[in-house]
Symmetry: C2
């Protein structure tokens, strides 16, 4: 226990470190005024004491029994714990929390100390018809940890933060086995002295648990190079009310259907991922992050598609902002000295004025980085791109986890900001990019709050790419959730109609569940339901998520 750092504290009303200073630069207010507008007055979050919580539904007697079973410190029902576990970090979550009206909260939070306690919690909850919401870092942006009781009498959050041991390191096999509650930064801290890294960096990196990453089929910012979590997991254990599945680490197998991949992405609705074995890599000797500019999104996409075809030369990080996103990032942050370095006037003179910024990141041995950089930059130049040096790369690295902090500040300013993502085959990418943008703009226009819609490609594959949309608008004063839902629905309908997946890395949760039948069909849903019935016959596991109601 001595070598385990405590998980970091998290703002109950928003994202991240409670001591974090405001993230929105002062000149951003002018940008907002000139574009989407903002609220008449700042709207800070209410004080914790003013948050309205529903009364707990667990009797004193039942709580006492839980405390007898698991220890007093392992069963909490105090205000702070209930509020912290009342929601994830999606836009509607934060709107409700900041207003002091989360609407729902777990009746208690249980912190099992290990696998044996985890099994006992699940058995007890199945017996007593208590819904269980697995809670790792609590960073879901799709309602994945919403404390919904479903058909049950009450609901607990099952917080995995005490299950965070590094269980085994097999250096010869580049494999580590951890408990599901291990946080990503903590694993990197433990691996660093051995010259190893996992290389999984979702934007929520500072808080995510690895069990949560597995349960949500997470991708990180470096997943083009390191693979998404699904490609890193060699084995794992699922603890479900009726069954346990233990799959040992294997480099590969042809022994039937891919059960590892069935558990990955199960979002707490099939059980809790108690342990997992992960592939690790050598810490890269060299990291180069740099920028490139394209005259327009289309030519940038074409360059990325070509680059993806030469899959071995791909950078580890590949991103390409469309024109609106490039414009905003240059307006707000100067793209990390891009103006100073390459000179926006010069770029404009060469026809790149309204262009698109790409970020390319290379990690590896210096030889490997040199070879891939030479190849990628050569290809990009050949397709009309221009390399603009390392400043944009450094700026991106510096702010790669900053988005959620900015969101908190924008919410204070009365601005709705939301992100959503998809992936699609290259042949459908342009049409989908356009359709989703129009869907969001149309929906928010109808609410009288014109939107700024931006997009970037966040990951490339040989056969397609992800599209990551960000939109801003003035927050509707009376019904910010209705406003959000209108935009989200329009966007997701457009994604499903355009051949995209309803989520590339945010997962399904509560928010995307209504579209699951369009994603996997009634047949696919029926198989998932059959698996759930087998593992969780009384349906206590994470009600309301993954499956459409």
């Amino acid at each position: 226990m001595a070598d385990r750092a405590e998980p970091p504290a998290m703002r109950w009303w928003g994202w991240g470190d409670p001591a974090h200073p405001p993230a929105l630069p002062p000149h951003a207010l002018g940008f907002l005024d000139a574009t989407v507008g903002r609220g008449a007055h700042p709207r800070p979050p209410v004080a914790l004491g003013r948050v309205s919580l529903p009364p707990g539904r667990l009797s004193g007697e039942r709580l006492a029994r839980l405390r007898d079973a698991f220890g007093t410190a392992a069963v909490r029902d105090d205000r702070h714990a209930r509020v912290l576990h009342a929601a994830g970090k999606g836009y509607p979550d934060l709107v409700r929390l900041r207003a002091g009206e989360p609407g729902e909260a777990p009746d208690a939070i249980i912190y099992p100390a290990g696998a044996a306690e985890l099994r006992r919690v699940l058995a007890l909850c199945a017996e007593e018809s208590i819904a269980v919401v697995p809670f790792g870092g609590g960073t879901s942006v799709v309602g994945g940890v919403a404390p919904m009781a479903g058909e049950h009498r009450s609901v607990i959050a099952l917080d995995t933060s005490r299950m965070r041991e590094l269980l085994h390191t097999d250096a010869l096999s580049s494999t580590v086995t951890v408990q599901g509650g291990m946080r990503a930064p903590e694993l990197e801290r433990r691996l660093a002295p051995r010259g190893l890294t996992l290389g999984h960096y979702p934007q929520s990196f500072e808080y995510v648990s690895l069990g949560g990453c597995a349960a949500t089929r997470s991708a990180g910012q470096s997943s083009t190079g390191y693979g998404a979590i699904a490609e890193m997991i060699l084995g794992l254990s699922l603890y479900a009310p009726a069954r346990q599945i233990d799959l040992p680490p294997l480099p590969a197998t042809a022994a039937g259907p891919g059960l590892r991949q069935l558990i990955i992405g199960s979002e707490g609705a099939l059980g809790v991922i108690g342990e997992l074995s992960l592939r690790v890599r050598r810490t890269p000797a060299e990291r180069v992050y740099e920028g490139a500019f394209f005259r327009e999104f289309d030519s940038g996409v074409e360059a990325l598609r070509e680059l993806a075809g030469e899959h071995r030369s791909l950078p580890d990080v590949v991103r390409l902002s469309d024109e609106p996103e490039t414009r905003m990032s240059l307006s707000l942050a100067g793209a990390g000295g891009l103006k100073r370095r390459a000179g926006s006037a010069l770029l404009a003179a060469r026809g790149y004025g309204g262009g698109c910024l790409a970020i390319l990141g290379f990690e590896g041995t210096s030889e490997d980085v040199a070879v891939r950089r030479r190849h990628a930059l050569g290809l990009i130049r050949g397709l009309g791109g221009v390399a603009v040096g390392r400043s944009p790369g450094a700026a991106w690295q510096h702010s790669r986890f900053a988005g959620p902090y900015l969101r908190d500040d924008l919410l204070t300013q009365g601005v709705i900001v939301e992100t959503l993502e998809t992936a699609v085959q290259w042949s459908g990418l342009h049409a989908l990019h356009r359709a989703v943008g129009e869907a969001i703009s149309g929906a928010l226009g109808r609410w009288g709050t014109p939107a700024l819609v931006m997009c970037h490609i966040s990951h490339v594959y040989e056969t397609g790419a992800s599209l990551y949309f960000t939109f801003l608008a003035r927050q509707h004063a009376d019904d910010p959730i209705g406003q959000w839902r209108a935009a989200k629905t329009a966007a997701t309908d457009a994604i499903a109609a355009g051949g995209g997946t309803i989520t590339h890395h945010h997962s399904v949760g509560r928010d995307h569940a209504p579209w699951m039948a369009r994603e996997v069909g009634e047949g696919g849903l029926a198989v998932l339901r059959a698996a759930k019935d087998e593992l969780d016959p009384t349906g206590i596991m994470n009600p309301g998520k993954l499956f459409p109601s």
Copy 2:
């Protein structure tokens, strides 16, 4: 139809082209006499007319109804068709077929012309309690197409050879969509004029259907570079008696559990893979296959492990034979001029006399091949290996699909030859290599037929590698199947005990089904059974495979 080649003919009693000349070189008989021995007299297969078939269990009336429904040519129950679909190509299959005693045969063979007919066949069979054995290329070596009726009144083989259309080519997305009965060579022929390749080359390449590859979670000889079939499949459709699941091609998704990976490896026990979308790549401009020698297996393994750690530099084909396999291949084939080129005397003088041969294959642009070759050969030299030029690579390429033909000839000589494979983390590889070898030797020794056991690493991964064993022994005259089962059981027990998967690419079928509970646990099996019950409630799909009885 005009541009679709007919699937190639296949020997009913063995492997491959009926016109293929004998494959065993004359000097191999001396090698056999000096090692494991052989039968007193050659034992050729019986004539087709002498094969004893069980009487068909479908009434004339029922057959007539089937022919009404699907056409006369699409419903066969003649001797040749029944014998051809009576077994796959595993060792016990061939022993039984050659003796004219297959023991089982389908009552009829139905050849649906497309998805609509496929659905009708399944509906009709579910209604009439007829078991359905999906049959693609019929190349299973683990009893995957054994015509078992299970609890049902009769059994048909569902031959997908009429479902072999190339449905769609999306060149921009490097994706093709084919029907499940499309054969691998036919797809390569269709892709070649467009400068594209799938790059999936199992040893059974000349006959396999792509639906069969998907259903058996197949890996090919180039899968270190091109990925196994599971990594190539972007979307697919499963036709099951009670449900259909259609998953469109996507480059990536985080929408819940991995249903694509649940269908891949379903071995016909959940349904039939009617269509699939596959990632294709540019035909490599350059292909270099070459040999390297290591003083002993251990140092070769260490070099491959290091190479795998630098995953971007990995060759597309990486194989390393242990000492016995190297010795045999040099004895039998001279390793493609290795003796002439590098000189076995010279190698011996340098300490590589009893060494181990590795084959490295590089495919790609000339720049890419040059970079990876330089890196790999440098690393290998640094770890005590010696490059021995392209002759061994050419020899391997020349004979890469020859193994099954050799087996036929060895069977004629009264020699048991069997292969089996596993994959394991690097840390467990040496112990497993030893344990499986000892298990096979011990088992066959107890039958009074001392074995020659050989092994090679056929695929490497960052965290482990596959081990592919071949063993030879004099065939037991009275009970060749019992002899085989003893060796197979000992080997698979050793694999399961040593942390290996029960199959790296041969799949589960009938032969490995008894070990599935050790592979995925009772919990894993319960989930697979739940999925089967949902898709195939009357249990007609491929009884006796995948699931332990």
